[in-house]
């Protein structure tokens, strides 16, 4: 797989960091992109970026909402936008023969969205429906609570979707401002994979970014998020057959030199499915849960190690006891040679599995751009994994896996 860096000369796209993987074996083009901003720019208008992203295909340019969807269908173009805490993420999948039209539709969605009032009320109602559904789901409640326990009043502590009240207050003008702020910001990230050569890719992007007015950089607008969940344990009663627990610890950002060590540690602790210690102890040996997982959440302005499990209320105390013991054990003793060896063969061997479709390649490369890993990272990555030592993992485990500092939320029946 050859990754090319494109340099674009067009005024509207000159700041773009674009990587291209040419592959002409199928008549398909995948583009994935990210604009820095997202929900972190919402300020007190919680849910603004999420609503804005959901509205982009509800009418744009000279097309109303239904006509826009019909135009996508006519060309069999798949277009998706989503807002996360740090970015507006988008992806488009198109057939080569319709690529110009697909690019024009994307251009309209980004730079000429209508945000018509009737469509806005409809999409607000849809988001409210999903907030209401989530409001009675213990897993969703726990996940939401964990973010506010961890980050307090920082914008990261808010729900990306907002609330019924915050959505109600958002106007069409707010959406226009949000779109402009996100999509005109400098240095979006972009990857093209598929049936186009360099010239065709450049021409396509020229269409996509026509009419953009570049302005400043969003990233400096956001304050760093302090972890405020140290040692906080909360329980929320809910009359459900199965309880859930979510937990978090402060972590390090993805561009930290030790991140690869943490990634290997997490794989051994709770990230690696059936090979992880938590799955072995809690599911395999004791049958306490269907699944227990930990994962790394490296946000731009504050990072977490998070985890969750679900089990019947009468088994929750035991589940939590064991999971905390496993954190303590790894903090004190690190990992074994055998575990490190197995983690490395898995992580390096499974790396190619992330590159077996056009959309997956685009997604992987975009995150490398986003975290500033460099265009040669694909070739270097396995070497970096192999360089991780037991001593490094012991050190970082010592620093990060302190259960006394853990934020923990349970939702379900009251525990004895």
């Amino acid at each position: 797989m050859q990754i090319k860096q494109l340099s674009l000369t067009q005024t509207n796209a000159a700041d773009l960091d674009v990587w291209l993987v040419e592959d002409h074996r199928l008549p398909i083009v995948n583009i994935e992109f990210a604009f820095i901003g997202g929900a972190s720019l919402d300020a007190d208008q919680h849910g603004l970026a999420y609503l804005m992203a959901a509205m982009l295909d509800e009418g744009a340019g000279d097309l109303d909402d239904v006509s826009f969807h019909k135009a996508l269908d006519e060309t069999a173009t798949h277009l998706h936008f989503s807002a996360t805490r740090d970015i507006i993420n988008g992806s488009i999948k198109m057939l080569t023969k319709h690529k110009d039209r697909a690019a024009d539709l994307l251009n309209m969605a980004l730079f000429a969205p209508k945000f018509n009032d009737e469509a806005m009320q409809r999409v607000k109602a849809q988001i409210v429906a999903s907030i209401r559904s989530a409001s009675t789901n213990p897993s969703e409640i726990a996940a939401k609570k964990l973010m506010s326990l961890s980050f307090g009043d920082h914008v990261y502590g808010n729900l990306v979707k907002g609330s019924e009240a915050s959505l109600e207050a958002i106007s069409q003008a707010d959406l226009q401002r949000s779109a402009a702020q996100n999509f005109n910001a400098e240095h979006p990230y972009l990857v093209i994979v598929g049936d186009v050569n360099e010239q065709q890719a450049a021409d396509l992007l020229d269409r996509v970014f026509a009419g953009r007015h570049r302005c400043g950089n969003n990233i400096h607008a956001i304050a760093d998020a302090e972890f405020v969940g140290q040692g906080v344990t909360q329980h929320q009663f809910m009359d459900v057959p199965q309880s859930v627990v979510n937990f978090a610890l402060q972590s390090i950002p993805q561009n930290d030199d030790r991140f690869m060590q943490l990634m290997v540690l997490n794989h051994i602790l709770g990230g690696g499915g059936f090979s992880s210690r938590l799955m072995e102890e809690i599911r395999e040996k004791r049958g306490l849960t269907y699944g227990i997982h930990t994962s790394l959440m490296p946000l731009k302005h504050g990072s977490l190690i998070t985890g969750n499990a679900a089990t019947s209320a009468d088994k929750m105390a035991e589940t939590i006891k064991i999971l905390r013991e496993e954190f303590e054990k790894m903090q004190q003793d690190g990992v074994t040679d055998e575990e490190l060896k197995n983690a490395k063969t898995y992580l390096t061997g499974a790396y190619p599995l992330r590159f077996d479709t056009g959309a997956k390649i685009a997604h992987q490369l975009l995150s490398m751009q986003y975290f500033d890993f460099g265009i040669d990272f694909v070739d270097r990555r396995n070497e970096l994994v192999n360089q991780v030592t037991k001593a490094e993992i012991a050190t970082i485990a010592q620093q990060l896996l302190d259960v006394e500092q853990m934020a923990q939320i349970t939702v379900g029946q009251n525990l004895s």
Partner: protein, 441 residues
């Protein structure tokens, strides 16, 4: 054992012991997907033993005469691979995803557990607890999942599709080693399975390896699956569930309809006609139902539907609507029924039909970008006794459909007497809505 080439890198052969093998060549990345599909699922369980197909799927990771409990996944992981499994009403599938040069390892392990499973209560009993927690997580903790399970149980009067794949909890709780081994012995054999290999390998190499690892396994001479036919459905049913946890009411309706296999045996391309009809009626945000109720009348927040045609016997047609305030669930039935009737009466425009065909045909092209998607499509269809040609010729059959075929098929199966309507609500107001609010505005 002659390899038949089907075009687009797809080929097919059978071993003498009855194992069918499909190879989907994809040389873009040095990766391979190994999927072994057994033609057995929850619908093949004995009465009182619900959940045994799915429980056995879990137990297949608990060791053989050659592999210690839990080692299967660990060996795959140590080799940089991923593995898992899933159970349906009509199939059970085990898969491994690995670097292409490790294909033989997956075959070796999968062939071993086709015949050499060993089970002790030490590993079986904790795993049964795991499955009961899985059921709680997937179903019991979610009012909408419980409601759908109850609706499904009401749709089928005689057919085992009425029973949830994961099983009823009180029956899972009693499943034991004998149940698992009996089910295993009865259904797991090369002549009751389909091997699908997708990725960076040639069919000649797959044949060589399959012969080596699967070829020596004796056929089970498995009897053809007995199928149950529903009696005539004579009246519509209602399944209403009130749960104070429900904040967001939901309206659902299912109609009994035939699977692709049954529908097309009855009338050529009838299933494709239903698939296209459901896309046009309720399958997207340009569909008739969505535009009518969500965009134009603004009585629903969302509306849509489904018809998943891959099954041995029945593939229900489903419709749903989420009322938009101040409307309630009581209004949805009337509004959806009227919208469906209007669609059948007037029919979609030629432009809409063209768009829907473009979308469906493009989906089959997009699927070729994903070896796992292709393997799943082909494996599930063959496990439901469809042919490889049924899958590969699908775009051509979609292209050939007329408006009349689409409407005739839909009209035939939108039959009130064969329907179940479900209301999921938290309180009385979710049913009636609050139309006074509307009058005041």
């Amino acid at each position: 054992m002659k390899i038949q080439k089907k075009g687009n890198g797809i080929s097919y052969f059978s071993l003498e012991n009855g194992l069918d093998v499909v190879v989907i060549e994809d040389h873009r990345a040095a990766v391979i997907t190994h999927m072994l599909w057994y033609k057995v699922g929850a619908a093949d369980e004995l009465a009182g033993k619900s959940g045994i197909a799915h429980f056995l799927e879990h137990l297949m990771f608990k060791g053989t005469q050659n592999i210690a409990p839990g080692e299967h996944s660990k060996i795959i992981a140590k080799n940089g691979g991923q593995d898992n499994a899933f159970t349906g009403q009509d199939y059970t599938c085990y898969y491994e995803r690995l670097a292409a040069d490790r294909l033989e390892l997956a075959m070796q392990l999968e062939a071993d557990r086709m015949v050499n499973l060993t089970l002790s209560d030490d590993v079986l009993l904790p795993e049964r607890d795991v499955v009961r927690e899985e059921r709680k997580q997937r179903t019991d903790n979610k009012p909408d999942a419980i409601h759908f399970e109850q609706m499904n149980a009401s749709l089928f009067l005689s057919h085992p599709y009425a029973v949830p794949i994961i099983g009823w909890d009180h029956e899972i709780a009693t499943l034991n080693r004998d149940d698992a081994m009996a089910f295993y012995k009865r259904h797991y054999a090369p002549d009751n399975a389909t091997l699908v290999i997708a990725g960076d390998v040639t069919p000649e190499r797959v044949l060589e390896l399959a012969q080596k690892h699967y070829g020596s396994i004796e056929p089970g001479n498995i009897a053809k699956r007995k199928r149950v036919v529903e009696p005539p459905h004579m009246c519509p049913r209602r399944v209403d569930m009130f749960d104070e946890r429900v904040e967001q009411p939901q309206w659902i309706k299912q109609y009994l309809a035939p699977s692709a296999k049954v529908a097309n045996a009855e009338l050529t391309n009838q299933s494709e006609a239903l698939q296209l009809a459901m896309l046009l009626l309720a399958g997207s945000s340009t569909s008739h139902l969505y535009v009518d109720l969500v965009v134009e009348k603004q009585v629903a927040v969302a509306a849509g539907g489904w018809y998943n045609s891959v099954a041995m016997d029945y593939s229900p047609i489903g419709l749903y609507a989420i009322p938009r305030e101040p409307f309630g669930l009581d209004h949805m039935a009337e509004l959806v029924d009227a919208s469906v009737a209007e669609f059948i009466e007037t029919g979609p425009s030629d432009g809409a039909i063209e768009r829907a065909k473009t979308l469906m045909v493009a989906e089959s092209l997009y699927a070729r970008d994903n070896q796992t998607t292709m393997a799943r499509m082909i494996g599930s269809a063959l496990s439901c006794d469809m042919s490889l040609d049924d899958v590969l010729d699908w775009p051509t059959r979609i292209e050939a459909l007329s408006k009349q075929q689409i409407l005739t098929a839909l009209d035939k199966y939108i039959d009130e007497n064969a329907s179940v309507t479900g209301h999921l609500a938290g309180d009385e107001k979710h049913l009636t809505g609050d139309l006074e609010q509307l009058d005041q505005e």
